[in-house]
Amino acid sequence: MSVVWLIDDDAAILRGLERLLGAEGFETRTFLDAASFLTAHDPALPGCAVIDLGLQTSNGLDLQDRLSQDDAVRPVIFLTGQGSIPTAVQAMRAGAVDFLTKPVEAAALLAAIRSALAIDRTRRSDLALKQEQRARLASLTPRESEVLQEILSGRPNKQIAHRLGAAEKTIKVHRGRVMHKMGLRSVAELVTLMSLLRDGSQG
């Protein structure tokens, strides 16, 4: 079950939103400040966060920044009582799903939450895939890793054999093992996958 994390320093708003989302069947957790939210927050749980931009102790954008450090980046929806264009731009640039002004229409909020949850689901399944591929990559022997690097460089077996000082036949066997361990069938797939993993490790 996805959880909608609600962070607003206004208890009345929290109650109202909690009721509204509860009535719509969402599971919610509410927090009056960023610190208590971060203490309780479990990045492993699917869901999204609805954050008041004007939190007193901690700026909502800072909180967003903090959340983006997790592996599974928590999708964030911002609420603001006094939205200015620069903050909205900044928030959206930092990956906010939506930027809504108070008082927010239920329909708009619910739509934003639904799309945030969809984004979260996609991210999580992508992440799971990446983790699986990293595990596969880690299962390669040093020799197979070398061969993999050579393949990525686009060299044919013969050249690789020469560079690594091995028989072409041996390289063929290594190559087969690499592809098998990575669960892939073509070099194209391998290239795509590796670039995806690299992006992931940077983000």
């Binding site: 206004d10 009345a12 708003i13 109650r15 109202g16 939103l17 009721r19 509204l20 509860g22 009535a23 719509e24 004007g54 609420l79 009582g81 006094q82 002004t101 108070k102 008082p103 927010v104 229409e105 239920a106 909020l109």
Partner: protein, 634 residues
């Protein structure tokens, strides 16, 4: 009242031996002897025998037994033994049958040491008192389901010890009195009664107590005949007549009927209302009667039986009175007036109206609808407020740019927007949640109530914010200085020239020749002028452009104050709406300054002055700002 003296009486119809019916009754252990000592059987359970004159099918007997059992309660009935025997005396009433019955009872119960015997019916009472010594020597007897006369007949002048019971009314006169109240115009009274021995007892009672005339109406006591003949005759009854069915267990052909069955047939056949003597016959189509409430009488018997089993002295016999009882459906069928019933009458089979029947459901629905409506109303109201506020704030901000960068309203309005948006956000979310929750079955009324409380709190919160803003607006750190009102007017109108041009209005300044000196805060006074002038120009949007003229006049008053008047050619503000116009967030125009006039008046008051509409409405609107003059102040 009982049937006539000397006549044994109506009580239950009897028949059919014991048998089922066991479910109702139960039984006993401790036996109380006449001398008060108790015999105890092995298991120590109280043992109680109930002897019923009729067979087990008779509703009156069933109701009595249920009453007894209900009174004794589940605790008693589980720790005791209750036996029920049906003598069925209506069908088996000859001496041989009764001897058989006696033998049977003696054999079955003689050694058990019964603690008490309950008896239903006067003929059964006669039988039990005759044979008590053989069946359960000295066991107290509690009787019921018999009338005064029946009791007399059963005892036949004997003094029977350890005897008490409940005496039912079985009073045909009280039923006839009830019938006459309900049918005051009845031309005659027709009495139907059957041919069984027991029925005959009723017939005699009728002959003796009613005679040929009752309450000024002729009484026709139909002669004995077959059931079919009765019913055929009934079809020809005068619809206005009172028909009284006393009892019919056998017809003249010797066929057995349950009185309830015959009552039903008679009520169907007769165009006239049929009155009856037994509660159990109400519901068959009969209108009603002054009847003994069997369950209540049974309960009284139950209480007496409990006392009897405990060994305590027996209470005195109790005479119960009948209760006027009618069948609402039958009353309606015969178009009888319920209001003629005596107070306290029981009305059975009342078919409630839609409202009565579904009161709870309807109330729930009403509550939900109400809650929903209120929620929606609250939502709309606050949205409206919100938009009005927002517009005015934008508008204020716009003007303030023109007026003065020093004036703080610009920043204030941003924080004001935030402070108002917070409660509004909570209100909106709560209202949306409320409307969702109220659509559920069943609605969570507690939660909805909590929502309303929260909405109320948030509305107050927003109100407090606004009140605070107004104080801030007029009490902030504003510098008061000596100013010329004419100058302020000229400056302001220059500043807002663009807005005025856009609205197509021309401003005519009719300023006093001399400087009009006041002590005040320039930007604030500018704000008043600006609001008044813009309001005036906007009020004329419906007029042809040439007619859109705003006249701004300043003057020093002879009394010492100064006056600024802004007049337009618009429709004006009706006197009854003038006060409202100064309340925050009230605006008649989509582009109106819902807050403007309220703030202006606050400013005026902070300057020791006043602001208000003057003059009749209709042709123009004229608003006047009055301020104390510097001279007056000095």
């Amino acid at each position: 009242m009982g049937p006539p003296p000397g006549v044994t009486m109506p009580r239950l119809v009897l028949e059919q031996p014991f048998r089922h019916r066991v479910g109702l009754l139960l039984v006993a252990v401790l036996v109380t002897f006449a001398d008060g000592t108790r015999a105890q059987t092995d298991d120590g359970r109280p043992r109680l025998l109930i002897v019923v004159e009729s067979d087990s099918r008779l509703p009156f007997a069933k109701l009595m037994l249920q009453g007894i059992e209900a009174e004794l309660g589940p605790e008693f009935t589980t720790r005791s033994e209750i036996y029920v025997e049906y003598l069925d005396m209506l069908r088996f009433n000859n001496p041989q049958e009764l001897a058989l019955k006696r033998t049977f009872l003696v054999k079955r119960f003689g050694g058990l040491g019964l603690d008490a015997i309950g008896v239903l019916g006067n003929n059964a009472l006669a039988f039990v008192t005759d044979h008590r010594d053989a069946i359960a020597p000295g066991a107290p007897i509690v009787y019921g389901a018999l009338g005064e006369a029946g009791l007399k007949g059963a005892l036949a002048g004997r003094t029977v010890p350890e005897l008490t019971g409940v005496i039912s009314p079985f009073d045909l006169r009280s039923t006839l009195d009830l019938a006459l109240k309900v049918q005051p115009d009845a031309p005659e009274i027709v009495i139907v009664v059957g041919s069984a021995l027991f029925d005959q007892q009723w017939r005699s009672a009728a002959e003796e107590t009613i005679g040929e005339d009752y309450g000024g109406r002729p009484v026709r006591l139909l002669p004995e005949t077959t059931a079919e003949a009765y019913l055929a005759e009934a079809r020809a009854f005068d619809p206005g007549a009172i028909v009284l069915l006393l009892s019919l267990n056998f017809d003249s052909a010797g066929r057995r009927f349950l009185p309830v069955q015959f009552a039903k047939a008679l009520a169907e056949a007769s165009p006239a209302p049929v009155w009856v003597m037994y509660e159990s016959q109400i519901g068959t189509g009969a209108v009603g009667g002054n009847v003994d409430i069997a369950a209540a009488s049974g309960a009284q018997m139950g209480a007496m039986l409990r006392t009897a089993i405990s060994g305590a002295p027996l209470p005195e016999p109790v005479r119960v009175s009948g209760e006027p009882t009618v069948d609402w459906r039958a009353m309606r069928r015969h178009e009888l007036n319920l209001s003629r019933l005596p107070e306290g009458s029981r009305i059975l089979f009342y078919e409630p109206t839609l409202w009565e029947e579904n009161r709870l459901l309807l109330l729930t629905i009403a509550t939900v609808v109400l809650a929903q409506t209120a929620t929606i109303a609250a939502l709309l109201f606050h949205r409206r407020r919100y938009f009005t506020t927002r517009k005015s704030l934008e508008s204020e901000r716009l003007q303030l740019i023109h007026i003065s960068r020093n004036l703080r309203l610009g920043q204030l309005s941003a924080s004001l927007a935030h402070e108002i948006n917070q409660p509004l956000a909570a209100i909106l979310a709560n209202a949306e949640a409320g409307s969702r929750l109220s659509g559920r079955t069943p609605p969570d009324l507690e939660e909805i109530a909590a929502i309303f409380r929260d909405i109320t709190d948030d509305v107050r919160r927003a109100g407090t914010t606004i009140a605070g803003l107004r104080r801030l607006m007029v009490k902030g750190e504003v510098a008061m200085e000596r100013l010329d009102l004419n100058e302020i007017v000229r400056d302001t109108i220059t500043l807002v020239q663009n807005e005025l041009a856009a609205s197509g209005a021309q401003v005519r300044q009719v300023l006093s020749a001399d400087p009009v000196e006041v002590t005040g805060n320039g930007p604030q006074l500018q704000q008043i002028v600006l609001n008044l002038v813009l309001n005036a120009s906007e009020a004329m949007e419906d007029l042809p452009e040439a007619a859109r003229i705003v006249r701004v006049t300043t003057a020093a008053l002879s009394g010492g104050g100064v006056e600024l008047t802004v007049e337009d050619a618009g429709p004006g503000v009706p006197p009854d709406r003038r006060d409202a116009a100064f309340r925050p967030f009230v605006s008649s125009k989509p582009s109106g300054l819902g807050v403007g006039l309220a703030i202006c008046r606050s400013i005026a008051e902070a300057h020791g002055g006043s602001l208000g509409f003057v003059g009749p409405s209709g042709a123009s609107a004229r608003i006047v700002l009055t301020l104390p003059s510097t001279r007056a102040k000095a």
